[in-house]
Amino acid sequence: MSNTELIRKLRAALKPENVLSVPSELVVYDCDAFTVERHIPLAVVFPRSAVQVAEVVRACSDHGCPVVARGAGTGLAGGCTPPPNGVVIVLTRMNKILDIRLRDAMALVEPGVLNLQLTNALSGTGYHFAPDPSSQGTATIGGNVATNAGGPHTLKYGVTVNHVAGLEVVLGDGSILQFGPVEDPAALDLARVVCGSEGTLAIVTKIWAKLTKNPQACRTIRATFASIDDASQAVSQIIAAGIVPAALELMDRGILDAVEAAFALGVPPEAAAVLIIELDGPEAGLDSLLEQVIALCRNWNPGEVLQAKTPAERELLWKCRKMAVGAVGRLSPGYMIQDGVVPRTRLPHIFRRILEIAAKHRVRIVNVAHAGDGNVHPILLLDERDRDLTARAKAASREVLEECITCGGSITAEHGVGIEKIELMEKLFAPADLRAMHRVRQAFDPASQLNPGKKYKTICQ
């Protein structure tokens, strides 16, 4: 079957307006928010139902070309960069909230529903959808599931997998399966396996999302420090004291420059690092907990500690934190963001190493971190047109991640492996671990039809 025939088949199955095949319309699907590697796909399709997804997968499988699922394309690891000769299945036209059942604290949504769209639809009900990646205004819930996305509030509430009760999925052979949403002790919990599989095991076509009750009250503070070292010491102490804040975030001077340019938050210019700390729960006891946290910060000479007094002030703080990565365009025409994890006691060490690595490779690195989780996001500034700089940034990236592994951590907390970190999988996992993963992959998708070349390339080839 020629490409033209495949496209004819796709058009027949989906209606022509849901298929793109003209090269000049395909080019914008050549990458996601990881722009360092790009491929133009063979075709792009917009199915409107699981049945249509299955038809596309079958047609492509007959034709011998791979498929890749795509949500909003905000992935940072090249998860939806098309494999050569690949067809992109875009799920943005499957964007309906099908059901909200507050009594069961559950919502049934299609994969293209935006994370914030669900939380907005819940406004006034006293519930929300807990995973809150910084990209939540744009990223799809399908993409959140596939990357097992987290956010500032992951520290207390857990990543996406903790908020998924069930999934409907399409496998590489075009079969449609449902896992959950009713917990069945007799079954393997396959929904959990699919979460975080980056579109390599199945294409998610429905999600039963667990809803979380809004906390009764919360307190949000912002503390500045004279060095990133002091700030990370304060983090370690807070966690060591057994306190679980709802969120505990760090930003360094470099990223603050971008944030100030974008939102004029008003952080004093001499501050080298800022912590944003949020506590939530029942009103009673919250203030004394807050005092305890502030006292711990005081051990590390904070410059100023400000509390958000109104919901609007709290919102601004969070907007600054969540838009920080996006604001990097104010510093440089491109960037690469890393997603390493270290034990929280090693935070001061990893920040020190990041500085050294930056100097060694002559790359500017700015930092945000879900510090409470030990999840660091060093952002390497680059300009794709400068190939030498890009190569140095890649090398520095790799060294940072290797350092994370050495510290006993991992190479990704939430952004996924994609194509970006594929080489590092062998460093992180023992051959036996990799083989086990590979066998799971084969059980779901024996022909490597779904998103090949991502996450486990080393074994597949």
Binding site: L20, V22, P23, V27, S135, G137, M323, A327
Partner: protein
Amino acid sequence: MNRRKWWDSLHSAHPTDNFMNFSSQDNTNESGEDNLAAGIAYDQLLRCVHCGLCTSSCPTYLETGDENNGPRGRIQLIRLVADGRTDLTDRMRHHLELCLDCRACETACPSGVQYGRLIEPFRQAIEAKDTRLEKRWDIFRRGILLNLFPYADRLRYVLRPMRMLQRLGIVSAIERLGLLKLLPGRLGRLAQMLPSPTRPGPRLPKFLPAVGRKRARVAFFVGCVADAMFRPVHWATVRVLQQNGCDVFVPRGQGCCGAIHLHNGDPLGARRLADANLVAFELDRYDAILVNHGGCGAMLKEYGHHWHDGLQPHRARFADKVKDVHEFLDNLGVVPFSGRIEVSATYHDSCHLTHAQRVASAPRRLLAKIPGLDLRELPEAGICCGAGGTYNLTEPEMSDQLSRRKLDNILSTGAQVVLTANAGCLLQIQREVRQAGLGLQVMHPMELMDLSYRGEKLELKAGSEKGKMKMNVS
């Protein structure tokens, strides 16, 4: 199959797509004079880090879910042309033309990409180079858009017989029977857009004195379509200004802001209109030049960077003086409203006010001060209603989709009145409301404020039976 091969096979399938010479590696920047992207702000392209955070704010992306119709994709398309990696294909042109230029993506972008400075010059270059016969000789564009719309007197003259028919109830009968659809293409749409017949009222005098203590001297900009179709809004606005201690001057010799020309490929025509305004307004006499419609305000505030000639500094000084009337009153501190207005209302952000001028909270703050008014937040308030300048005439399908989306959101609030501060939005939403047979009142915020100062009640219209059903359902 290797990459080259499948690429070729794609090509043979699409002989019409002149997406040639494409190279993903080639980084040569060939933006010579010939390049369509020669006039764009190239630094803005570099600012875009491809994060995608803007897509969900884009009306055409929300409707289609396609990156080609979202800001990130459009920026990528413009960059491909700017870098000389491909010629502009028909499909690319289509996606760029479908952009509403609503600038919601600018508000959303944390990197501060000024998208308007990319799309506007790029589209002007496309228009200028467009050799397609049907466009060059387009009677609609040349005759109506550029030579009728921007001139309030001509427009009023043409509108007169239409108003007569409306007053006699003939137009609504024709509309009910769907006969307006029989008028050829965009003329039919134009007729459908006409506002309901209200007496236009006399022309604004040259000077209206402040009431009470004098607090400011302001000049008032009347515009073209706004003056021809919404003169009562102008009257309401100047009365509100008078109540707030403003001496209001209405300089003669002023005219259209030039936006219609600029956005339809006639930058020189736009400059002519702009320069007439420069002459009409003596800057040093006024504390501010006030505008009550978002679209005109946005254009006036941009006078400083559209044309590059000797007059530019003067235009920039003019632009600095321009203020939206809500922004101005909010800063000045509004004199307390007097009468109670016991209705529920919701506020729709005009793109050119909220995104281009970044005036979003001022109108809400003012409205919240009207005693008795139950102001409800509109879901997707900042998503374009589909009017987008002349977009409702040039891209009818997407425009209709967006105005239906807007109406559904308005109905979900259960409000009796919808307020918005732009002529295009007022026309678009009014039409949608009329066609659905709803009793919903569509007004400019200044009209409500004026009612309150005058201590008058708002009379609500009843909708048709069909419309009432629709309101009850949602």
